[in-house]
């Protein structure tokens, strides 16, 4: 199965390790991720002011490109997912016809059709968790993982329609499929602080630490993320606030997927994680 793929800026550079292992894991599931030709930045965050049309052009251009290739567009980053899907939805909003025309004037590519923006997790759901279970080579030994979705994956609920906005379970189900023990906790879809890390690091750290502490309260051994920024925030907050022996491993969900599907240690990109999870994983007998 081929899916047009949108990596986004961070996964293309600083988090390249996560992208690489995602593609390899996909291949093991007979999924080919076909990168969108000359894609541009989606904008990293969605702007809501009704007259802010310039901000819509970037994401819409990507959707137009994707519409040339098919009906779907897959992204690996929750932030890109949020921006692209909302931009696409807004184009069709009632009363927005004039604005839609103006935005499309700045997009060279023809907007062939509406594209369904999907997060890689939804692709896995389409592949079928049963099928994935059959391909698992290294079940995760009941590793207690807290699935952290972040705020951008599930909200706004009317547009994204990705699972329950307060208590999503898709990734939890995936973790169970891979042999881990999903741990229910209270901060699954609460904000890690996001872009506030740039100018108000203290605020972002407070948000991230709350998530970590709550995951610990419920008995999680590791946290699994779906967005490179959440990954960074949860890791760096712990580096700043906790001594090394008290820090929890933060794993990107495709790294966990790749691990369970049998990718080699060198293919999973753990060395580029801010907090090296390898000692922890070795201790758990998973590496």
């Amino acid at each position: 199965m081929k899916y047009p793929y949108y990596p986004g800026c961070t996964l293309y550079s600083k988090a390249k390790n996560l992208d690489r292992c995602a593609r390899k894991a996909a291949a093991l599931l007979d999924v080919e991720l076909e990168e969108l030709p000359s894609w541009n930045c989606c904008g990293a965050i969605y702007n809501t002011n009704i007259d802010d049309l310039a901000a819509q052009v970037g994401p819409v251009r990507n959707l137009a490109k994707a519409s040339q290739l098919g009906e779907k567009l897959v992204t690996l980053c929750a932030a890109c997912y949020n921006v692209l899907k909302r931009a696409g939805g807004h184009l069709n909003a009632t009363g927005f016809e004039e604005e839609r025309k103006r935005i499309l004037e700045f997009v060279d590519e023809r907007y062939e059709r509406d594209v369904r923006v999907m997060h890689y997790l939804e692709v896995l759901k389409e592949v079928g968790f049963e099928k994935i279970k059959q391909r698992v080579k290294k079940p995760l030994n009941g590793l207690k993982v807290a699935s952290y979705y972040g705020c951008l994956m599930t909200r706004p609920k009317e547009v994204l329609q990705f699972d329950d906005p307060e208590n999503p379970i898709m990734m939890d189900d995936l973790m169970a499929t891979l042999g881990a023990e999903p741990v229910r906790f209270d901060f699954k879809a609460e904000c890690c602080g996001g872009y506030l890390v740039v100018n108000r690091r203290d605020v972002a750290q407070a948000c991230s630490m709350r998530i970590i502490e709550n995951a610990k309260t419920w008995g999680a051994e590791a946290v699994v993320t779906t967005c490179p920024l959440c990954q960074y925030n949860l890791e760096s907050a712990q580096s700043a606030k906790l001594p090394a022996d008290k820090r929890m491993a933060i794993l990107y969900f495709t790294q966990v997927l790749g691990l369970a599907l049998g990718l080699g240690e060198d293919e999973l990109g753990f060395e580029d994680n801010k907090l090296d999870p390898k000692p922890f994983l070795k201790e758990k007998g998973l590496l």
Binding site: E166, D186, F187, E213, T217, W218
Partner: protein, 646 residues
């Protein structure tokens, strides 16, 4: 054909006279053929007004009357009664609505006067063709059915039974008392709920005129007011109710443990159980789904230990038929499923319970015998947060309305908590505090005087931190977000109508509003009746309310039933459908159209037959008849055509 029609034009103060030029109108309508009198008066509905009409009927020997005034829904009955008292058949008195349909909606005076004349002409044309009609007498069975035996149903049943009429009281649970039986103390007096309830449940259980059917549900109702046929499904108890002595030995020996719904899942009960020790009837019942024996796995312990040999594993569902004349719906409420509001953690975060759950903890027959302890570890909570509006007033995730009772019961909860845990801290998070009843504001004052803290802000999130429960609240008065670390949280969850009650109402075609509450006939003036003749409402099935209001409404519904039973006959309006059998071909269109199931094609005769007492005179059948064979009395086609031409 009427030849001596009298017209009375009402001024209705300035409502009509301020727009319609009344003297001119009177002059014009006097000239209509067959009209022998045209008068006007300031307020025709008043005593002098009605006297004028009666005298004119006698003096001028009128054989038809048109009153040009307000809407018939207001005074048609008044004027028809006056006509009747003057010796004129009431159905020869018609209303020409020149207020709601003319003076209230037209601004130009000449236009209004012309329109009023048109309306009067139309009604004169109708009266010309009208027949004198007599009200239909309906036989009435003076026996009532009360659905639901919570405090509302019990009160209604007692009131009707004490007046000497037989009542069938049906309750779906194995014993009566409803939610009031779950409560510990009631506001604002802090009476023990069971203590004030038990005298009533015992009286209802033993009353010679009350036929109590517990663990039973109404399956079907057919018929009409005065003549209902009710099919009741008696669920299998698997216990012989006459043999069982309520000794309780089986309760100790049953090996199965199941969450107790009565205790809001805070304790376990057995598969054979009774709801609470003072249950009426004091008999046990077997929960078939959880009983090993009934699920095919060998057990049989209860049958072996029962000294009265009352266990009946072979028991089956039975259907009973009852005939009654009036039905009171007292189906009550349930609590909103607050687990739908994921951010509150109900059902996931330990020690987050709902209002009824806290009642059970406070109750002497509850999980901790009346000691306030928290469910997770049995420790005494030193700080409890009470969350108001959990699901209420929330168009987004809950119900849009206010559940009315929570402000008061939360104040009560906090007070009782402080009484039992002297060094405990009670914090109530609220949006508004609503204390509309007698003694309520004073109670709220007492609660705050005794140290209960109120924080104005709706709680957003509840989560776990080690062995504590953290609440994210706010104080909008100080303008701050507040984080509270508590030992236990009580959610004052929204009140929703009992889903079985909603289902039943829909099946019986009783109007139900968008929130599922049964709709009263008029929100202000007819709170205990429905628009379906013979059905009355009592209790929370009609809308959230507290115990005093429930009891008042139940007695009100009983009064309506007794008013019905107190007359010797029931009357039905005679403006109903009539079939001309010579024209009728039995096509069945009318049967398919009728919303009241009042007309059916008689298979043998091949003609439509109208069940007079069920016909509500809506006229839909006469529209649907391709042959024009079915018509409404006094609304026949000829009259209608004349009215249009007038």
């Amino acid at each position: 054909m009427r030849k001596r029609i009298g017209i009375f034009v009402c001024h209705c103060g300035i409502n009509i006279a301020g727009v319609v030029k009344v003297p001119e109108l009177v002059a014009r309508v006097k000239a209509i053929p067959d009209v022998v009198s045209a008068l006007d008066y300031v307020y025709c509905c008043s005593d002098p007004g009605q006297k004028l009409i009666k005298e004119t009927i006698k003096e001028k020997k009128l054989d038809g009357v048109v009153v040009a005034c307000c809407s018939p829904s207001l005074h048609e009955t008044t004027f028809r009664k006056a006509a009747s008292e003057a010796g004129l058949n009431p159905y020869l008195c018609e209303i020409a609505n020149i207020r709601e349909q003319c003076s209230w909606v037209t601004s130009d005076r000449d236009e209004a006067t012309e329109k009023a004349e048109g309306i009067v002409r139309t009604i004169v044309a109708k009266v010309r063709e009208d027949q004198a009609l007599e009200r239909l007498k309906v036989p009435m069975l003076k026996r009532a059915l009360v659905v639901g035996a919570g405090i509302a149903g019990i009160q209604a049943a007692l009131d009707i039974a004490n007046a000497g009429y037989e009542v069938v009281l049906v309750e779906k649970e194995p014993s009566i008392g409803g939610h009031m039986a779950q409560l510990s103390e009631t506001f604002p007096t802090l009476d023990c709920s069971q203590c004030i309830l038990t005298p009533k449940t015992v009286e209802a259980g033993h009353h010679p005129k009350i036929k109590l059917l517990t663990y039973a549900e109404v399956a079907e109702v057919s018929g009409f007011i005065g003549n209902f046929r009710v099919k009741i499904r008696q669920k299998p108890r698997y216990v012989d109710i006459d043999a069982c002595t309520g000794c309780g030995i089986c309760l100790e020996k049953c090996p199965v443990r199941v969450d107790s719904g009565f205790d809001r899942n805070l304790t376990k009960r057995r598969a054979i159980y009774r709801l609470f020790p003072q249950a009426v009837p004091n008999k046990v019942v077997i929960d078939a789904k959880n009983c090993r024996q009934l699920q095919g796995k060998k057990c049989g312990v209860c049958a072996r230990v029962c000294p009265a040999q009352a266990i009946r594993y072979e028991d089956k569902e039975r259907f009973l038929d009852e005939e009654v004349g009036a039905i009171v719906l007292a189906t009550g409420y349930e609590l909103f499923d607050i687990s739908k509001v994921g951010s509150y953690g109900f059902g996931q975060v330990p020690d987050v319970i709902d209002g009824l759950g806290f009642e059970r903890i406070l109750s002497a027959s509850g999980p901790f015998a009346g000691e306030v302890r928290r469910p997770s570890d049995g420790r005494v909570p030193k700080r409890v947060v009470f969350v108001q509006c959990a699901g209420s007033r929330d168009a987004n995730q809950g119900v849009p309305y206010c559940s009315k009772i929570c402000c008061m019961y939360t104040a009560k909860h906090a007070l009782l908590y402080k009484h039992r845990v002297h060094d405990g801290e009670a914090i109530i998070c609220y949006i508004d505090v609503r204390t509309p009843g007698k003694g309520f504001e004073e109670f709220y004052r007492r609660v705050t005087d005794e140290g209960v803290k109120y924080l104005r802000g709706k709680v957003s999130k509840i989560f776990r931190r080690n062995d504590k429960v953290v609440v994210w609240a706010a104080d909008t008065l100080a303008g701050k977000k507040i984080e509270i670390e508590a030992d236990m949280v009580v959610l004052a969850t929204a009140v929703v109508p009992n889903p079985r009650g909603v289902e039943l109402a829909r099946k019986l075609k009783i109007a139900v509003d968008a929130n599922g509450f049964q709709t009263e006939a008029h929100p202000k003036l007819r709170p205990v009746e429905t628009l379906t003749a013979g059905f009355f409402l009592a209790g929370c099935g009609q809308g959230p309310k507290d115990i005093p209001e429930t009891v008042a409404q139940a007695s009100g519904a009983a009064a309506k039933v007794l008013a019905m039973f107190g007359t010797s006959e029931l009357y039905h309006e005679p403006v109903i459908a009539e079939v001309d059998e010579e024209i009728c071909v039995g096509c069945g269109n009318c049967e398919r159209t009728c919303a009241y199931e009042a007309v059916k094609v008689d298979k043998r005769k091949g003609k439509a037959m109208v069940q007079a007492v069920m016909c509500e005179g809506c006229g839909a059948c006469s529209v649907s008849c391709p042959a024009g064979a079915i018509n409404l009395k006094n609304f026949v086609k000829k009259a209608l055509m004349e009215m249009v031409d007038a």
